[in-house]
Each structure stands twice: as C-alpha cells, then as structure tokens.
Point group: C2
Chain length 334, copies 2
Amino acid sequence: MSMFENRQFRLAARPVGLPKASDWTYVKEPARPPEDGEVLVGVEYLSLDPAMRGWMNEGKSYIAPVKIGEVMRALGVGKVVESKAAGFAAGDYVSGALGIQAYATVKAKELTKIDPRLAPLPVFLNVLGMTGMTAYFGLLDVGEPKEGDTVVVSGAAGAVGATVGQIAKIKGCRVVGIAGGAQKCAFLTNELGFDAAVDYKSADFKKELKAACPNGIDVYFDNVGGEILDTCLALINLHARIVICGAISQYNNTTAIQGPANYLSLLVNRARMQGMVVFDYADRYGLAAREMAGWMAAGKLIGKEDIVTGLESFPQTLLKLFSGENFGKLVLKV
Amino acid sequence: MSMFENRQFRLAARPVGLPKASDWTYVKEPARPPEDGEVLVGVEYLSLDPAMRGWMNEGKSYIAPVKIGEVMRALGVGKVVESKAAGFAAGDYVSGALGIQAYATVKAKELTKIDPRLAPLPVFLNVLGMTGMTAYFGLLDVGEPKEGDTVVVSGAAGAVGATVGQIAKIKGCRVVGIAGGAQKCAFLTNELGFDAAVDYKSADFKKELKAACPNGIDVYFDNVGGEILDTCLALINLHARIVICGAISQYNNTTAIQGPANYLSLLVNRARMQGMVVFDYADRYGLAAREMAGWMAAGKLIGKEDIVTGLESFPQTLLKLFSGENFGKLVLKV
C-alpha cells in the first residue's frame, strides 16, 4: 500500500440547483500506487471553474459527465512523488486533470510537464492554463476582433473574462467589461486597462452599457447568458460576432434555460453567435502559451488569482463562482 | 392628371398581433404621372412575404419600417405604361418594390427589367426573385452545406424553404423538410425530391424529426423560430451551421419573442447560428439567377406559386402566410 494518505471529494448526487454539501462525499484512503505508465502526483493547486457545474449533470455534452461515486474532475498542478512512466521523475511539476484530491494517480500521457521557474504554479491554471487558452482562442479564433472594434466581455473580472479583455486591448480594440460591483469595475479600468466597465447590478445597466459602447458592439464574448446576453444582442453592429463561452447565470437553474429573446438581432444585423470549447485548439496550446507568456513578461497581460487554502473547503469555495464572490481566477490550494 | 385610377392599401395602424382589417386604408385615386427619371408601372403580380409583417413594426431593423399612411411595401412585377426615364419604354416588364397597389410611380433606377419570355411573370417573384435569392445565398453562403451533410429546413413547403431543400439536393445533401400537414409533406418528398418530410403538427414531431436525421443535423435553415428551432438545436452535430432567415412563428406575438432555450447546444457542438438578409448579396443576384434558371430548365428545381386574384383581397390573403394555409410562394394577382 501507498504511504500517502489521500483525501478526495467524490460526487455523491447530481445537484439540483446550486451544489450542496450532501452532493459530495469526502473520502480518506491511501493513494493508489502508480502502475506502469502512471505517476503519482502530489496535488498542490486546483482550478475551480464554472464549467465544473456542467460536468455534474447527466446527459450528452462536450465531455462525459462525472459519474456518481467518482472523484470530482478538476484541472490542477502538482509535483510527481512517484513515477512508473518514462520521462517523468519524482520532483517534476505537472498539470492535468488531477481531480479534487490531495494525490492523483494518473496516466503520464494525460499530464503536461511545466517549468515552475517560468511562473508561480497558480499561473499555470490561469493565464498559462486552460483559462488563458479559452480566452485566447475564443476571442481570436471565434470572435475575430479587428483593430478599432468594440469588444464587450461579461464575467469580465473572472479569469477568462479578464484575459479576454486584455488580449482585445493588445489587439487595438475598445474594450468594455461587464462585472458585478464597483470594486471589480474599478479593477478592470484601473489595473487591466479596459476602456470602460459597467456594473450589471446597476439599476441603469442597459443605459450604462449603451453609453459605454457609443459605436455599438462588434464582438461580444459571453460568459454569463441570461439578461446580459439579451442586452448585448440589442446593441450589436452589422456582422457582429458573439462568442458563446459559457452561461454561468443559467448553470444552477432548476427551471428551463432562458434563451436569448433578442436572437433575431442576429438576422437584422447579419451577425453570428458561435460556441467554443477550448479542447479543439489543443494542437496550438503551446504557441498560444508562448505568446501569452511574452505579453505577461512585457507587462501587457496581468493574471489575478483568488487563492483559497484547504482542500476541505472545496464545497463552499466552489460556490464563490456562482455567487459572484470570487475575483480573478479561483484556485484551491491543497 | 393621370388617366389611370389607382387602388392602394396603405398602412393605417401598427398591428398588434395579426394584422386586421382596420390596420389598412383602401384608397382609390388617380395614379401620379411620372416625373423625369420615373416610370409608371401597371402592377400585375405582388409578392406576399412573411418579412412584410416585420416592416409594419416600429423600430430599428434591416430596413426602415413602412410609415403610417404609406402604401404598404411589397415586391412586384408589372408592365411600364408610361416612361420619363431613359432605357424604359411603355410595354417593358419590370420588377421592384412596387407596393400593394394597381399602379406604381417609381424611380427607374429602383427597377429591374425582366424578360417575360424566360418564365411566367410570377416566377420572377419566386425562384428567380428575392425568394430564390434568399434561399440560394442563405443556404450556400451562410449554411455552407457539404456533400453528404444532413440539411433540415423549416417552412419547407413555403417559397424559400422549398427552394432551399431543392438546392441542397442538387448539392448532394440528405434533405429533411419540416412542414405542416400530410399534403405538404407528401409534396416535399414526392414532387421536390426531399429525402424525408416531418409534420410539425404531429404529436410525435420530435421523435419523427430525430428518426429522419439518423446522422444528426449539419445545416438547419430556420424560417420559423420557436419550438422548432429548439428541437433542431437539440439534434445538431459538431460544427453545425444554423441559418436564421426568419421566425414566422414569432412575428405576430403580442408577448416577448421566445428565445431558443437550447442555444447552449451551440457551445457543446462548437456550432454557429447566423442571420442573413438577402440585400447583402445584390451584386451576385445576376449570377445566382442564371444558375437557378439553368436548374429550372434542367428540371432539377421546381417553383410552386399559390396565386390569389384580386388586389382587394390583400388583407385576408396576407394572413394565409401566418395560418400555414398557403402552399408555395404566395402571390397576389392584381
């Protein structure tokens, strides 16, 4: 048996609405020693993402749902403590789908080695990880911003949104962020260089967004769905592109999803709404990460992480994503 | 004064829901003689289109609304009876936005000459007119069908839908039409060569559509919106294209438009939903009409017109579009 005691959160039930404590089982057991081709990873940081809510639901999606009784799926970074795989040695740092647990026994081919001298570990879950890749490919490949375009992003103080906005600035766009509360809005304009930020909790949100987009919207990067998507649809320009990256306002619905009532604005404006999943761009992650690292080194791209310590806090920490409470990339430090 | 007595339907009020008799004023008055650059056209056939309902509403759209008191906008074909414009002579046949009236005094530059020896006049309002252009560019430029794709079209027994399906067959696709009632469905498969037709009024519509698309949907050409759009969204394949051409199920709503609740299928399937307006392709109408005329001559493309006689019947005849009663291109014979 392994000398490492593992601690895990397993999915106990499919949540209805917000995940609650009884949807999880907390398990302590020895970590399974690696077999040939596997490594045992000591998990250090875990990425908490809105997409995780979708993985808990039954039914066809872009990835299989987490099964009842399985360790909850999550991306993470950690250090190899034991290797039975060529090319991996104890002490190597890796990233991959490690799961909500203290130790992960994983096939080596599902891991990526990372160099901790390049950036602090949590950055590999943010700008240099799937979050950054989602922002990069969603904005550039699907949104196709041109210099001078007005780019609007929702969930703008979240991990993907903040990166989208900064890349759009690098590309010469007017960038407007939508976020909840004055503090987040100030962060977007003062620290990230957004041209404007609009608080969706404001009673005059629609008017304020319109005022922040005097030339209309050319690209809308949607992380939230619901009313905000509809408000943006009403402001799009001819040939606008709407990137559907997520719909956090709808993930915990216990009633039907709210479809965009203003979708006929796509017709009027000959515009398109297109979905994206980051996995499709895997063959270009390396290129993108190099470009993003360059922007970070040049001070043009800032990552902000919201790090919460303690694996045990997972059930409550996850909820910060849906309450609008987190600020930057939500990371759980094991 | 003119020797021609005109008869016109003018918009009297903006309709709430279905247009009713009191939303129109019927006016008899002498036709205005043409001034320099204008011609006087004796209107022979008028095109009745779902889009007309949108033109009656106030508010920004892809074209200015018809003003209260103005002759109702409509495309038509007719014969020049008097010309004050170079290049046009009495006896010439023309098409253009003639309006719901017996005589139209129009700027010559807004008219297109047509050759009545090529096809019966109503065909210039159907396959060789805006209807055909909408089908051609919407399907080929926005839908981008590839050989072997499954193409689904709603409003399939309507003018645009029937043409979309036939062009998709010419391009080597599996074509499934959605229409209301057994007679229309039989027409699609027996006379137009669709691979399958599904009756949206059937209690088992969703099951039947799924069975008709064993390989899922690659292109969905949407003329109707509402539940049918949602049903198709649930069946799309990876990288599917949804063409938003119209939403006839929603045009007479007195409540909010029903947005597509299944729009997150765009995300899951990395699919796109894109609007189109035929006017954007004006520089290629000639090319498309030549290709379509060739297909008609070769017997590969059939146009069906539903011709109602009598300008005075306009208010009731228009309603056939929204009751599902018309079958083929609805044309009013003046």
